[in-house]
């Protein structure tokens, strides 16, 4: 096992009036690929956002460590600069902010990515090509008027540009057509190959996992991680769904 990159210990979190996550323990080693599955409403997105530092959720107990540092109380920008990246299920539109200058700004926040304007332009062009994005995307406003698939590509573009140590992909594959899906898969592969970063993939869809070598699979039901296992757990879920876990959870059963 690699060094532990992310360690979530005993996290209880939720909104002000609603507990959502219960006793979450999760460890992701540097460079590992983990998958998080679970029925709708289980709390997967919430876990992603809690790891990213969304202030909409309160952490009532437990800690989050990243690279050996306790980041439980850090703001999202600090976590981002430390190397955590969250690709959103529904990226927000930011009118009037040109995509290209936005990309330049967020890159310049990172000393390790220091490059000349010219090199930056070349790098962005290279990634855009990799993702089958036309250059005209870059002159448009951040996420404004893009289709769902295009927005996901813009998330991948940022992922490849920022080279985080951990990428949490929240249903980056959902709602994509076959072409967009293969582009996103290629993007994930490029991230693994070029950056060697760790992945936490939240998905319903096992297709995107076919080309990844998965180290661990986690199952979340009603705000709890109820099962954890090797890649083969995915096939099990594919065949039998989440029912077995839901039943186990309802009867207060042990983890699989």
């Amino acid at each position: 096992m690699h060094d532990t990159l992310l360690r979530v210990s005993g996290i209880n979190a939720g909104t002000e009036d609603k507990p959502i996550l219960h006793d979450i323990d999760l460890a992701v080693g540097a460079g590992e690929t983990h998958v998080l599955m679970g029925p709708n409403g289980a709390g997967k997105s919430t876990l992603g956002r809690v790891i990213m530092g969304d202030p909409a959720y309160q952490v009532n107990s437990g800690t989050i460590e990243f690279g050996g540092e306790d980041i439980t109380d850090e703001a999202a920008d600090k976590r981002s600069l430390a190397g955590i990246f969250l690709s959103y299920q529904a990226p927000v539109e930011v009118p009037g902010v040109p995509l290209y200058s936005y990309l330049r700004t967020i890159t310049q926040k990172r000393p390790e990515l220091k490059m000349t304007a010219r090199k930056f332009r070349a790098r962005v062009g290279e990634i855009a090509d990799q993702l089958d994005m036309s250059g005209s995307f870059l002159t448009r406003e951040l996420n404004v008027g893009f289709s769902g698939g295009e927005k996901k590509k813009i998330e991948m573009l940022q992922l490849l540009l920022l080279r985080p140590k951990l990428a949490i992909l929240d249903e980056t594959d959902s709602g994509l057509d076959v072409d967009a899906l293969s582009v996103v898969s290629r993007g994930i592969e490029a991230y693994r190959a070029d950056c060697g970063g760790a992945l936490l993939v939240i998905t319903h869809n096992t297709r995107i996992l076919e080309r990844l070598s998965v180290d661990r699979t986690h199952v979340m039901v009603q705000g709890r991680l109820v099962a954890e296992g090797p890649a083969s757990l995915i096939d099990d879920i594919d065949a039998h769904g989440f029912e077995q876990f839901e039943r186990a959870n309802a009867s207060g059963g042990d983890r699989a």
């Binding site: 956002r49 990213m52 530092g53 969304d54 202030p55 909409a56 703001a75 999202a76 920008d77 976590r79 981002s80 600069l81 955590i84 990246f85 969250l86 959103y88 990226p91 927000v92 930011v94 009118p95 009037g96 902010v97 040109p98 936005y102 700004t105 967020i106 926040k109 990172r110 406003e141 951040l142 940022q158 920022l162």
Partner: protein, 474 residues
């Protein structure tokens, strides 16, 4: 800080010293505070004006005294004590045609504001006013060869060719009786610009006038008179700024724009007044048939503003486009907007304004659309978007419409928005700090207006937004 980083177009290094510096007015000629016929006579005599101008000034002074001090609407101007405003301050220097002939402190001022550099790089001509007088005026020779005139009203009045033209137009679009501060303006006006673009001449690069009010407790009353003849084309840029003082300063300029048939005028403004400024400015354009008037306006600073550029679409098929943005921070009460009068048939107007309110600042957007009886098929749409950055600020929209032609259509749309938490999270989770994220969203909100400006002015506007977001402007 090095000279280089003090340039106003430098965005990375935002610093209030960009605008907020003063030079001593020692040795300057400063007239007594308050308003008397003697002061008006003294200004007129100093300028060696034609008789009609003095008569106009004195009549305007009577009108001024006859009118009520404050309107019964809009922000309070009780803090403005006219007995303590000097209406004329002259830096005692001759108008220069070369920056080398401008006294050092004044030259430094304009250099720090980036004017000579902009002139070299992207302008066809520049006028620079310091307090009450124009200290620098120059235009490229090729533009002059086309017959374009760009000078001060004072110089035009001394030129036998242009004196009758000034006489014909001056004060006709904004009459002295328009309101109390228009009357004040005509009594004590000084400086400003006279521009004449002959028939068919298209001026390739913009002309720019920059107005800097340096003296404490003083007023600036420049008059801008622009005539764009048939089929001609001009882009005029107006910049204004002043350092911070404790005593009230007053800006009561007047801008009269005559856009003849088939002509086009774009009038861009970036105002950045200090927060002790009362900005009571009046701007008006009259537009001929098939002609086009475009306003781009960025209003920053001032304690109180009353500002409603007016467009009279007189000729058939004439068109007006107005895009403006105002930013009100702590202690600011800005009453701005625009007025469009559609008189010609098939005239069209699009008004697109944005306001940003922060730290208890107050923005009121007032629009007035009047469609005349003759204006068959006139179309006007007014949109006002407000962005509120906190709960203690205010933003109001007050639209007025008077439509007297049944075939006309007028639309109004107003929205008030806030920055969503999800947007801030999105930007923060990509590495922007919270203030940076807010500034980025506000810059994006302003972008439809700033992108209408030439690049370096767009950069300046973004710079001003950053300063306002940091609360750094005095």
């Amino acid at each position: 800080m090095s000279e280089r980083t003090e340039k106003r177009t430098q965005v990375a290094d935002v610093d209030r010293s960009l605008y907020d510096f003063t030079y001593s007015e020692e040795g300057y000629e400063r007239y007594d505070d308050g308003l008397t016929p003697d002061i008006v006579r003294a200004i007129s005599e100093k300028k060696d004006e034609p008789e009609w101008m003095l008569a106009m000034r004195l009549a305007a002074l009577d009108t001024y005294h006859a009118k009520e001090m404050a309107p019964n609407w809009g922000p309070s101007i009780a803090g403005l004590d006219m007995d303590h405003i000097s209406t004329y301050v002259s830096p005692r220097t001759k108008q220069a045609k070369s920056w080398d002939d401008v006294p050092d402190d004044i030259k430094n001022t304009f250099e720090r504001l980036g004017i000579p550099e902009a002139e070299r790089e992207s302008l066809a001509g520049v006028g620079a006013q310091y307090d009450s007088e124009i200290v620098y005026h120059n235009m490229r020779e090729d533009v002059a060869k086309d017959g374009v005139v760009y000078t001060t009203i004072e110089d035009a009045l001394h030129d036998p060719q242009w004196e009758p033209v000034v006489h014909e137009y001056f004060g006709t679009l904004i009459p002295p009786a328009d309101h109390k501060f228009a009357a004040l303006h005509y009594a004590v006006w000084s400086g400003g610009s006279f521009v004449y673009v002959p028939t068919g001449v298209k001026v390739e690069y913009p002309l720019q006038s920059y107005f800097r009010l340096n003296a404490e407790g003083a007023g600036q009353f420049e008059h801008t008179l622009i005539i764009v003849e048939e089929g001609a084309d001009l882009h005029f840029i107006e910049g204004c700024s002043a350092p911070k003082y404790y005593e009230a300063n007053l800006h009561a300029g007047a801008v009269e724009l005559f856009v003849k048939d088939h002509a086009r005028l774009r009038y861009s403004t970036i105002e950045n007044w200090s927060k002790n400024m009362y900005n009571l400015n009046t701007k008006r354009a009259r537009v001929g048939a098939d002609a086009q008037m475009e306003w781009v306006s960025g209003s920053f600073g001032s304690h109180v503003s009353y500002l409603y550029p007016t467009t009279i679409l007189q000729g058939d098929r004439s068109n007006c486009e107005f895009s403006g943005i105002t930013f009100a921070g702590a202690t600011q009460d800005l009453d701005t907007g625009c007025k469009v009068i559609l008189n010609g048939a098939d005239t069209t107007a699009t008004v697109d304004t944005k306001s940003i309110s922060k730290d208890g600042g107050c923005n009121t957007f007032r629009s007035s659309v009047i469609v005349g009886r003759r204006a068959a098929n006139a179309r006007c749409s007014v949109s006002c978007q407000s962005l509120m950055l906190d709960d203690i600020s205010r933003s109001d929209t007050i639209p007025a419409m008077d439509v007297r032609n049944a075939t006309a259509s007028v639309g109004h749309e107003a929205t008030i928005g806030r920055i969503s938490d999800d947007t801030i999270l999105y930007l923060m989770s990509r590495g922007c700090s919270e203030p940076e994220a807010r500034t980025m969203v506000v810059g994006g909100f302003a972008n439809p207006v700033s992108k209408e400006l030439p690049l370096e002015y767009a950069v300046e506007m973004n710079n001003l937004i950053k300063l306002e977001m940091e609360g750094a402007i005095g």
